[in-house]
């Protein structure tokens, strides 16, 4: 009950922040400050957030830069109705964490492969962009994991090559992938397996974003595109007579929020805030709001390697 009321408030808050962001585009500065005050008062953050703001006072009132690759509708993409806004689950989750700790977010759109570079060069403070936390990537940034991964296999309508996963059915097929995606090495690992089975090797086509990968299938250049199941569903929804989802596969990774390695305190603050947001039920509500499978929900962990 408490949590539902809270979610209502949350909607209010979102409307306020949306208003704040739009007005900032029109009247910089002053309007922004006013909006800050309004949103600060109108919204009671989850109970534990007060304590967190007291514990991490340096973040309060700050505006941080969130680097995103806004080509994943449902997670992060521009709002087709108002292209000046970014919308999606990751955007909402990030703003909830910010709300809890008292900071606001602005967005910096970069290619997927540049997300962590942008973070480590200091051009961004945080990355919440449906990025899978892998050991390899954890060498460049610390991750706070928040979601399980289910991948979908996107194929042309009727699946002419009968692909049913990242397995021998992909031998000889052309797979489109985003540069830097974790699926790339998984497809590459198939090459020796296909050879051993006496089948032709799969080929990889690397693109800069989701849209280009999907176009590659629509244009008949690629046979399949393996990515987050929600992204695949969105693509099928947009082109129901040309595309279909062959199958969903589980991938042994989690999605994570990336923060700079040299800021453990910030990492801990984000982790603590995420726990608060989850405890308040907001995380689950957001999954529903964006039509995502609630099975994605994951209690947070930190992935940090040296």
């Amino acid at each position: 009950m408490v949590s539902r009321d809270f979610f209502k408030n949350l909607r209010n808050f979102r409307n306020n922040t949306v208003f704040a962001r739009r007005s900032r585009n029109i009247v910089m500065g002053g309007a922004c400050l006013i909006a800050l005050c309004i949103s600060g008062q109108a919204q009671a953050a989850p109970a534990g957030c007060q304590a967190l703001q007291a514990k991490y006072p340096a973040l309060k009132g700050k505006t941080l830069v969130n680097a995103i690759n806004p080509h994943t509708p449902g997670y992060e993409a521009i709002d087709p109705k108002d292209p000046n806004k970014y919308v999606g689950f990751d955007i909402d989750l990030g703003e909830q964490i910010g709300e809890c700790l008292g900071f606001k977010l602005t967005y910096k759109a970069v290619t997927f492969a540049a997300l962590l570079t942008t973070l480590s060069s200091g051009q961004a403070d945080i990355v919440i962009s449906d990025i899978y936390a892998t050991e390899e990537r954890a060498k460049a940034a610390d991750f706070i994991t928040y979601s399980k991964v289910f991948d979908g296999v996107l194929v042309a309508k009727d699946n002419p090559k009968k692909i049913d996963g990242i397995n021998l059915s992909m031998c000889g097929a052309a797979a489109a992938e985003n540069t830097g995606f974790v699926e790339v090495p998984l497809v590459q690992a198939l090459i020796p397996q296909c050879k051993a089975a006496g089948k032709p090797e799969p080929t990889l086509q690397l693109y800069e974003n989701n849209a280009n990968c999907i176009q590659a299938i629509l244009a008949g250049r690629a046979d399949t595109y393996v990515n987050d199941v929600n992204t695949v569903d969105q693509a099928v929804k947009a082109n129901p007579d040309k595309l279909e989802k062959a199958i969903a596969v589980t991938i042994p990774y989690s999605v994570g929020i990336a923060v700079p390695k040299n800021k453990p305190e910030f990492r801990d603050a984000v982790l603590a805030a995420l726990i608060e947001v989850q405890k308040a039920g907001i995380h689950m509500d957001l999954l529903k709001k964006w039509d995502l499978d609630v099975n994605n929900f994951k209690e947070p962990d930190i992935l940090s390697v040296n």
Binding site: A67, P70, H71, T72, P73, A77, I78, D79, P80, P83, N84, K108, A109, V110, T111, A114, T117, T118, S120, S121, G122, Q123, E208, N209, N210, A211, I214, Q215, Q234, A235, A238, N239
Partner: protein, 542 residues
């Protein structure tokens, strides 16, 4: 595709144009500044600067722009230089454009005819003045098409800024395509917007080309007067325009020649008298034991020559005998290895510590010593009218006011019979007319000595006489001190007091003109004269 028009007018994309234009403008402006520096370094006399500039060019022309963008955005912050996305994109584009723009500038500067630069130097113009008044105005005209190209290419290259999060047109298009799945409508729309932008650049380029076209007299062509080097006072322009139009009709047919030459008292006895008087005058030019080598080849071999005020000396001799080099040394257009050159009692040459003078110091020396020079190829400044060719250097080098300089130019052009062509560009003048303007230009600062380097050799036979007539009158009516290198034996006989015959970098025979020319003592002189006599047919020996 139905939404094509919708995307074309979508404010989100339209705003993206602004970022595209800002990045392009930053890239071009920065590239121009950096390109100017690079071009100046490459053209400089100091080889270290040139080498540095070449190294820069190799690196930034040889690596992809997309890497430079990422470098400026992600690597520079590591050394504490954190630019905004637009700043980083502008910087990378500027760094990438600079070598290309530098090469354009260099080609423009090197494309200017060497002769004009030599003529400017001879008039005492410093390197900076030459660059500003002679080279830049002409080079800029030549570079406009290339600059248009570069602008279009920079505009398209700005799309690479999308990789470093600049919200320009390409990034916005791809984001929009990702969220709407309406790939083709969006990319057609943004393609059309790019096409609109590049077309605008082309239109601007054509407009600027027309505006700077010197041959155009339409209102647009008049825009050229807003350029500093073209600004002329309007009353004078109008007055001269009237004069020109008044003369336009009749002047088409035979070129209105010089005012009828006065009957010349040029009998042999008069000339001998003149020579005798000159004999007692002060020394105007004194060359002692002048030596100069080009590498292993000796061009001047201990040459000595004395020319007195009012004297006309003709230098004769086969090609390569050192005539031109000697004249250039007298004007310090060339350095020499040893020996001495004095003009008007003043010694030309080196700094007190014995080191060579800087080009700037030599220019000032030239302007103050007062040696005029006329070249075989005329070397008029081709972007300036006949009058500006004469008046310009008076203003720039000698600080004369515009009114005075214009008056002086009018006088001199009248004296060489060209007042009706004062507003003509050199390329619209015949060779003979050009050489007469060149003589007027050389005379304008009232030089104490006039050097003429084969002034008629590049002229068609029928044009030789109009130039010789002008020179003849300078010698006889004005008593100007002149040193003329020429192949015109008869002319030398008529005009010169003295003839010096050069061979192998030294004077092998000199003396009263008529005596040497009719009765040479040295066998080489005799041989040369007989050869010239043999193909004497035309007045010209180009």
């Amino acid at each position: 595709m139905s939404l094509f028009a919708h995307y074309l007018s979508l404010p989100y994309l339209i705003e993206g144009i602004w970022f595209t234009v800002v990045v392009t403008a930053l890239g071009l402006a920065g590239g121009l500044i950096l390109g100017l520096v690079l071009a100046a370094m490459q053209l400089s006399r100091f080889s270290v600067l040139a080498a540095f500039a070449r190294g820069y060019t190799v690196i930034f022309r040889g690596t992809p722009l997309i890497l430079q963008m990422v470098f400026a955005y992600d690597a520079l912050p590591q050394i504490g230089l954190k630019l905004s996305a637009i700043g980083a994109a502008g910087l990378a584009l500027a760094a990438n454009e600079a070598p290309f723009i530098a090469e354009m500038l260099r080609a423009g500067v090197l494309g200017i005819d060497r002769g004009q630069i030599l003529a400017g130097q001879a008039l005492g113009m410093t390197p900076a003045l030459l660059m500003r008044r002679i080279i830049a105005p002409q080079a800029i005209r030549m570079m406009i098409p290339a600059f248009g190209n570069e602008t279009v290419s920079a505009l398209k290259n700005s799309s690479l800024a999308s990789v470093i999060s600049v919200q320009e047109l390409t990034l916005r298009s791809t984001q929009l395509a990702s969220s709407t799945f309406d790939f083709f409508s969006i990319f057609f729309a943004s393609g059309l917007i790019y096409l609109g932008l590049t077309s605008a650049v082309s239109v601007i380029q054509l407009f600027v080309e027309r505006a700077l076209d010197l041959d155009r007299t339409t209102p647009q062509g008049r825009l050229a007067i807003f350029l500093p080097w073209r600004r002329v006072d309007l009353p004078a322009t109008l007055k001269l325009a009237e004069q020109t139009s008044a003369l336009a009709g009749p002047s088409q047919s035979p070129p209105p020649d010089l005012p009828a030459p006065p009957s010349r008292p040029t009998s042999r006895s008069d000339r001998a008298k003149h020579a005798a008087i000159v004999e007692r005058n002060n020394v105007a030019v004194e060359v002692t034991d002048l030596r100069k080598n080009y590498g292993a080849q000796t061009v001047l071999h201990g040459l000595g020559l004395t020319v007195r005020v009012g004297e006309v000396v003709a230098l004769l001799g086969p090609s390569g005998s050192g005539k031109s080099t000697l004249l250039r040394c007298i004007n310090h257009l060339e350095n020499w290895d040893s020996g001495m050159v004095r003009v008007g009692g003043r010694r030309l040459g080196h700094r007190d510590d014995g080191k060579p003078l800087s080009p700037r110091a030599i220019a000032n020396e030239r302007a103050s010593v007062g040696v005029g020079m006329v070249f075989q190829q005329f070397n008029l400044f081709s972007h300036l009218t006949a009058r500006e060719n004469v008046a310009g250097p008076l203003r720039w080098v000698h600080g004369m006011t515009r009114v005075d300089a214009d008056r002086r130019a009018r006088e001199l052009l009248e004296r060489v019979g060209l007042s009706h062509r004062a507003d003509a560009l050199p390329r619209h003048l015949s060779g003979g007319q050009q050489q007469r303007v060149a003589i007027a230009r050389a005379l304008a600062p009232n030089p104490s000595v006039l050097l003429l380097d084969e002034p008629t050799s590049a002229l068609d036979p029928e044009l030789v006489n109009e130039v010789l007539e002008v020179i003849r009158r300078l010698a006889i009516d004005d008593g100007l001190t002149m040193i003329i290198s020429t192949h015109q034996i008869r002319f030398a006989d008529e005009v010169a007091d003295r003839v010096a015959f050069l061979s192998g970098g030294s004077i092998i025979e000199e003396g009263p003109a008529h005596e040497i020319l009719t009765n040479p003592r040295h066998s080489a002189t005799a041989r040369f004269l007989s050869v010239m006599e043999a193909d004497k047919a035309p007045e010209n020996t180009a």
